[in-house]
């Protein structure tokens, strides 16, 4: 096989590991040899746990930081569970980066609305870093984040840090809470009406469970955003990540190479077709 064989993972070593929530872990990964390729916010890697398998995980780190990748993994199965349990110094295999990026450059000059649900904040985080690093190029920047309950809030310190900035509007809501919680309760689309942005020209980047994205895209459109200014990050079964295995087909698209970031107007019709 040639050196560039896209099927062969490259060795990466786990650096710092951070337990984010009960079942979500963030790992820093550094290439054992060579340098990490450049990646764009929204792209993903295939992470391989020795002898167990491979899973597609979006990059969650800051693309401006050289060295390695940062991935945030939720323990939902054998492979993601094994990866989430890796300790500093452990090795894993990595193929990537793959997929389409968030339209951070295309959004320049406009208001930007990030809408994240649950773990969906992780694939959006590189785009948030990128936009904040070039803050002067954008209009208003809004981050709306919804998750299940207060202990499930991901990247809490970062959310608080961003909220302290005077040039970012951060609104957080949870689906359920007890009376101790002083923040918002309700679904994330409900925050759209509360956020201050100009729907005319605003670009929305939405990531979360598919139903949450459907509801959110509808609410964004109802608030005045153009369909082609709304972007979703889709998820489907992936084996190869390079358009050769057929698993991730979503209508005419392959989520691995035509996605994961897809423009809403191009997928709105099939998004509501059952079992597509």
């Amino acid at each position: 096989m040639t050196e560039a064989d896209p099927f062969v993972p490259l060795p990466y070593r786990v650096g710092r590991v951070r337990r984010e929530t009960r079942d979500i872990t963030t790992l820093e990964l550094a290439p054992v040899t060579g340098v990490r390729p450049d990646y764009r916010p929204g792209q993903f890697n295939m992470l391989y746990a020795f002898g167990i398998g491979e899973v597609a995980i979006s990059v969650s780190g800051d693309p401006a930081v050289p060295g390695g990748y940062v991935h945030t993994v939720r323990d939902v199965g054998a492979v993601s569970g094994a990866i989430a349990k890796l300790k500093a110094g452990a090795m894993l295999g990595l193929r990537g980066p793959y997929g389409t990026p968030w339209p951070v450059e295309a959004a320049e000059g406009n208001d930007v609305v990030f809408v994240a649900g649950g773990l969906g904040l992780a694939p959006l985080r590189p785009a948030i870093y990128r936009v904040l690093a070039r803050r002067e190029r954008y209009g208003r920047v809004v981050l709306l984040y919804g998750t299940r309950s207060p202990p499930d809030i991901l990247f809490r310190q970062e959310l608080e840090r961003w909220r302290r900035r005077l040039d970012v509007e951060v609104l957080v809501t949870v689906d359920r809470a007890d009376a101790e919680w002083r923040g918002n309760v309700g679904v994330v689309p409900k925050l759209i009406a509360r956020a201050g942005f100009d729907p005319n020209g605003a670009v929305a980047m939405v990531c979360g469970p598919e139903v949450m994205m459907r509801f959110t895209a509808n609410a964004l459109h109802a608030s005045g955003l153009a369909l082609d200014h709304i972007y979703l990050s889709m998820e489907r079964n992936m084996k190869c990540a390079i358009g050769l295995c057929g698993h991730c087909q979503f209508g005419p698209d392959f989520v691995c190479k035509d996605g994961p970031v897809m423009r809403y107007d191009r997928i709105a019709d099939i998004l509501t077709v059952r079992e597509i």
């Binding site: 096989m1 040639t2 064989d5 896209p6 099927f7 062969v8 993972p9 060795p11 070593r13 054992v32 391989y48 020795f50 002898g51 167990i52 398998g53 491979e54 939902v76 199965g77 993601s80 452990a90 090795m91 295999g93 459907r214 509801f215 509808n218 998820e235 489907r236 079964n237 084996k239 190869c240 390079i242 358009g243 050769l244 295995c245 057929g246 698993h247 087909q249 209508g251 005419p252 392959f254 190479k257 709105a268 099939i270 998004l271 509501t272 077709v273 059952r274 079992e275 597509i276």
Partner: protein, 389 residues
């Protein structure tokens, strides 16, 4: 024999003995010669060393859910349509080890090169027009996209294709509808048309490539007469006129893509066993899955790639469940991909009209019938999904 090599497009006549010599000439040139043989009551592509390995005097009776080999009244060597297998079996094998890995002191190492088999130089004998198109379609999918399937590319390299113009259409054939046959038009090294009557058994042979010209120049042959050429044309014309099935492709892509909630999907789901046979026999289906294994001690691991099928529950699994739990959505995915979204993805239909999916469906579901049923009663707007809140 004239000196020099015959130009591409040359048509010549080859005797039965010339065909024997062709097989030997390919073997002498280092090719693994694979062609039709009879095994377990079917035409199976396997190694061919001599004329006697070929299915002399056999034909196939095919219909939806039915395949039978029967004796012919003559000794035709290519007197059948297509068997269950296609050349995909060799170019894109059902099981392939991608790499091995082993534990090391500080982690593990992946050893990709140890897996690489000695590359075979395949010569395929008896490739039908639909199959040439199927190979071209898999080339598009696996080699001509942004990422290359390196294993496929390696196995595809230096193939020698001896095509055969079909002497008869199978009961489930519809290549004429898909513009993929029955006459081979490109993508071959040599193409044969079998000419057989009481007195003579010979082949019109056409040169399709420089490699083909070189091989033909080593064989005893003579120029084809206008009568020979007319006879070969008649064979193909007769085949074209006797297709077992018809598929109306006009507007088919839009038709299928605009009917995701057609009641016909329920109808076909009531018959479909979700057995995946159609995808296993299809010469263009390319879907695969990977399996990661380790030994009991956890010291070594490997990744194996296998053919997969959109008819399995695992195929569309995302944590928590299958995106397509129901048979109707799996069938819809398969036929819509094959006949419609394939065009979006690769600029060509994914169907070559070989009829295998029809023949080898255990309950006789017929892609041409299902497509026609959707066309007959396209869904009205009241039948579209109103899922968006």
């Amino acid at each position: 024999m004239a000196g020099g090599e015959p130009p591409i497009g040359t048509q010549a006549m080859l005797s039965l003995d010339g065909l024997r010599a062709l097989i030997e000439a390919l073997a002498e040139r280092g090719y693994q010669v694979l062609g039709p043989t009879v095994r377990d009551g079917a035409i199976v592509y396997d190694e061919v060393a001599k004329l006697a390995d070929l299915p002399s005097g056999w034909t196939d009776q095919q219909d939806a859910g039915r395949y039978r080999l029967e004796r012919r009244t003559d000794n035709a060597l290519f007197g059948y349509a297509v068997g269950p297998q296609s050349w995909r079996r060799f170019l894109h094998p059902p099981i392939e080890r991608m790499w091995r890995a082993h534990r090391t002191e500080d982690g593990f190492a992946i050893d990709a090169t140890a897996v690489e088999a000695e590359p075979s130089k395949f010569a395929f004998l008896g490739v039908r027009a639909c199959e040439i198109h199927a190979i071209a379609i898999q080339d598009k999918v696996l080699v001509e996209g942004p990422y290359v399937d390196t294993g496929y590319q390696r196995r595809r390299r230096d193939n020698f294709l001896v095509a055969v113009n079909c002497g008869q259409a199978g009961g489930t054939c519809f290549c004429a509808s898909m513009n993929t046959g029955p006459k081979v038009d490109a993508g071959f090294d040599l193409a044969l048309t079998e000419l057989l009557d009481e007195s003579d058994h010979r082949f019109l042979i056409e040169v399709g490539s420089v490699a083909g010209a070189e091989v033909l120049s080593a064989l005893r042959h003579h120029a084809a007469s206008p009568e020979d050429i007319a006879a070969a044309d008649a064979v193909v014309a007769r085949t074209a006129g006797s297709m077992g099935r018809v598929l109306d492709t006009k507007g088919l892509k839009e038709l299928l893509q605009s009917n995701p909630t057609h009641p016909r999907w329920d109808d076909v789901a009531a018959r479909c066993l979700s057995c995946a046979n159609c995808t296993m026999v299809c010469p263009t289906c390319f879907c695969t899955t990977v399996e990661d294994h380790s030994d009991l001690t956890g010291q070594t691991a490997e990744r194996v790639r296998r053919w997969d099928s959109c008819f399995t529950a695992d195929f569309s699994w995302i944590h928590g469940g299958s995106v397509r739990p129901e048979t109707k959505s799996r069938y819809r995915q398969w036929i819509t991909h094959k006949l419609a979204s394939w065009i979006d993805q690769f600029g060509t239909s994914g169907c070559v009209g070989c009829g295998r999916c029809v023949t080898w469906c255990p309950v006789g579901i017929d892609i041409t019938v299902e497509a026609a049923a959707i066309r007959a009663t396209p869904a009205t707007s009241t039948e579209t999904d109103h899922g968006r809140t």
